[in-house]
């Protein structure tokens, strides 16, 4: 029953992700991806990672995709002109590449049979693993340096985005 529900959630994710690629209008693509990310957050919760699920909703669906929508509306791109048949070779090779990649990925999955590496000797209580308190204990004890590096990276990205998007002074 749990597996059935989980597979339904994943099917919804894949469906809306496919819709994202197929839809022509970029705003429709973004909205479709929002739905896919919400479903993915549900999947994370079912996999015992409620904190990451909340992050997925807040940061991905809430901040990043809203930023995409904001830029799309800022640029005010109307329906892009249909540029059909412009690059048939490119489209053909692109689809061949995507299909070959998917086949390779499936082949790798089949041959490995989702084999697990050696599991942790004493697995901690899996139910409490994804809770913010236990996650924070690992994050701030073992990965503090990485955490600080991320904060510097975010500051650099902030400055970079500001410099790049700034209006050029008229000289």
């Amino acid at each position: 029953m749990e597996r059935l529900l989980f597979d339904a959630v994943l099917a919804a994710v894949v469906l809306f992700a496919g819709l994202m690629v197929v839809l022509k209008h970029p705003v429709h693509s973004v909205l479709s991806l929002v739905v896919a990310f919400f479903a993915l957050a549900t999947g994370y919760v079912m996999l015992g990672a409620p904190f990451v699920g909340a992050l997925q909703v807040i940061v991905y669906a809430g901040a990043i995709l809203v930023l995409f929508l904001f830029v799309l509306m800022l640029l005010n791109i109307a329906r892009p002109p249909a540029d059909r048949g412009g690059r048939p070779v490119q489209a053909f090779l692109g689809s061949v590449g995507a299909v070959v990649f998917a086949a390779m990925l499936l082949g790798a999955l089949r041959s490995s049979g989702a084999a697990l590496p050696a599991a942790a000797a004493v697995p901690p209580d899996p139910a409490s693993l994804g809770e913010p308190a236990s996650l924070a204990r690992v994050l701030f004890a073992d990965y503090l340096l990485h955490f600080e590096a991320i904060s510097v990276l975010l500051l650099a990205a902030l400055v970079g985005a500001f410099v790049l998007a700034r209006r050029e002074p008229r000289t």
Binding site: E2, Y60, V71, L116, A120, L139, I150, G160
Partner: protein
């Protein structure tokens, strides 16, 4: 296995999402949609990490996903700033028409 969910289901969905992202990045000609496809590929990798983390009973999978989400936020901010600057210069975000670095 996680509860009654087999890891293979998670990995299959992850592979499907990554392939969809590859197809989108290769076939779409709108820079924003290519960027969205790249975000989708990152989420496919995140799903695999969460699945393996849950199957192995370690917190490391979720920690890595935490970092990936932070880096994705930084990447989205800089990438979209580049698109805004590009649109100011060329009035388009169709990657077929942007040939500044071509010759």
């Amino acid at each position: 296995m996680i509860g009654s969910i087999p890891l293979s289901d998670v990995l299959l969905a992850s592979a499907a999402l990554f392939s969809i992202g590859i197809a989108g990045a290769l076939l779409r000609r709108n820079a924003i949609q290519i960027f969205l496809s790249i975000e989708l590929m990152m989420n496919a990798a995140n799903l695999a990490l969460i699945g393996y983390g849950a199957a192995l009973g370690t917190a490391e999978g979720q920690i890595i996903v935490f970092f990936v989400i932070a880096i994705a936020a930084a990447e989205a901010a800089v990438g979209l700033a580049i698109f805004v600057a590009l649109f100011r210069h060329t009035e388009t975000i169709d990657v077929n028409k942007i040939t500044l670095l071509k010759w």
